[in-house]
Amino acid sequence: MITLKNVKKVFHTKDGVVNAVDGVNLTINKGEIFGVIGYSGAGKSTLIRMLNMLEKPTDGSVDINGESLTSFNNKQLRIARQNIGMIFQHFNLLWSRTVRENISFPLEISGINKKERIKRVDELIDLVGLSGRGDSYPSQLSGGQKQRVGIARSLANNPDVLLCDEATSALDPKTTDSILNLLVDINKKLGLTIVLITHEMHVIRKICNRVAVMEEGRVVEEGPVLEVFRTPKRTITQDFVKQVTEPEETEETIQHLIQKEGHSQIVKLTFVGGTAERPLISDLIRKFEVYVNILQGKISQTRDGAYGTLFIQIDGQPETVKEAIYHIQQQEVEVEVITNVGIGNTVS
């Protein structure tokens, strides 16, 4: 569906050359929600803007639906863009137009006649849940409502692809969730391919099928979301995964306990998919002569299953504790025994 081959973007600034995107190869499948995550300055916006040629690649090729955007002239590009919707962090609505007129804008551009425009706008207003607000101006709407207008506008010409540049970064958590749900909804209903960029792992976790992690202009890790959650390879990916699975103070708390408790073992369990829902702990207590103390835990839902981490402290005869840990390992649960070095560098 979307293929990027060795895509590069170099900016020449007064301070020198910036390799904003540095040789990215990606394939995005039809109908999937693909996330790109990275810290500020990683080159995410530059990358997504090259998918509709708002930014022309310095090198490499961008193909969408088998058409090579990189070889298009301006006119071909304008027509191709009508097939690629885009929504923005700051919504970018025209304040001089009402909701209805904003949504109508792309239809005017593609030359749809007035009667059909009115019909289509009504459908879209319903689709994004803004019925009754059609005659309001953007200044009269909340952030979440403005993004709904943005989404309706981006869908007006029935695109195959929707690009989202930090579409929820200006919204509060609750509104973010409702917008994300709307995106999943239209992804299912319309079979739309969605590419979104974000710096919040929460967004990836909630709606993406696959994710690419960007660092300094390069994609450093890529894969199905659940897999990346289970076995994050790079430090940057591990940090992003922790954003979702571990409360911020986990590390400190655990360190503190390790220093205090000499003989018991502290273990980090990672559950993926079905195992996250099994009663592992009660099983453990029933079968082994051990005390189990739950220190901290969190289970989060991804699109393809649950993912969770649990920190427990197992106390008992050293032999029994070992057996208990062995037992857990048999349950398709990843186990890390935490020593006193720090959570990143544990022995398993």
């Binding site: 509709n52 708002l54 590009l77 304008r78 027509i79 191709a80 863009r81 009508q82 690629i84 885009m86 923005f88 700051h90 970018n92 609505l93 025209l94 304040w95 001089s96 137009r97 804008f105 792309p106 005017e108 551009i109 593609s110 101006y137 953007p138 200044s139 506008r153 010409n157 690009l163």
Partner: protein, 224 residues
């Protein structure tokens, strides 16, 4: 009527009416032409700026140079400088039509800068959104740039129109006609202070009406 005649003994109301019409005529034509010329110059200034749709340094420099020069010349000197040009264009140096070229050339650059500032206020993201939908440059101009800056364009032309009225009065002194000529020739040179007074009051009324209309439409179009 009698009361007016005693209060303003020297005022010939028919002359006054005619002068008012002349002033209104010059205002109407010069404001309209200034609006159009200023809008085009302002758009070009904006569009040829770095990073904008028609980025073009030489064109930008030429227009900016023209605008800056003509904006800086005091109006009264501009009239004199333009005498050959005006005579060529209108055939005479006197009368309402002869004042128009100087008025427009004096005011359009002034308005062009206001247009440019108004356009710069537009969020770049909105222009980019229009591009991402496949809009042509022309569509971006008349569907995004102009509507989004409309309140500022209107308040700008209001200020310019009021400046034009004072230019027109000045042009009256050098024979353009209208209330300025009346106030100068009859009022000042023949010491008929009542004529000067009534002319001034009429000019003030015109200014207030323009200000009121301008404010009204600025507010009406501003949905921010």
């Amino acid at each position: 009527m009698l009361a007016l005649a005693t209060l303003f003994p020297n005022v010939d109301w028919e002359d006054m009416w005619e002068a008012t019409l002349e002033t209104l005529y010059m205002t109407g034509i010069s404001v309209t032409a200034t609006f159009l010329l200023g809008l085009i110059l302002g758009l070009l200034l904006f569009l040829t700026e770095r990073g904008n749709l028609w980025q073009n340094k030489p064109v930008q420099l030429i227009i900016a140079g023209f605008v800056n020069i003509f904006r800086s010349i005091p109006f009264i000197i501009l009239i004199i400088l333009l005498v050959p040009f005006t005579t060529l264009l209108v055939g005479t140096m006197l009368g309402a039509n002869a004042a128009l070229p100087a008025l427009i050339i004096g005011a359009a650059p002034f308005y062009a800068r206001m247009v440019e500032i108004a356009l710069r206020e537009i969020d770049k993201g909105v222009i980019e959104a229009a591009k991402s939908m496949g809009a042509t440059d022309i569509q971006i101009i008349y569907k995004v740039l102009l509507p989004e800056s409309l309140p500022a364009l209107i308040s700008g032309i209001t200020v310019t129109a009021i400046a034009l009225i004072s230019y027109i009065a000045m042009a009256g002194v050098v024979g353009a006609g209208g209330l300025g000529t009346l106030a100068y020739l009859d009022g000042f040179q023949r010491y008929q202070n009542d004529v000067t007074f009534v002319s001034t009051v009429i000019i003030l009324i015109i200014v207030f009406i323009i200000q009121w209309i301008g404010d009204f439409f600025t507010q009406k179009t501003d949905k921010r």
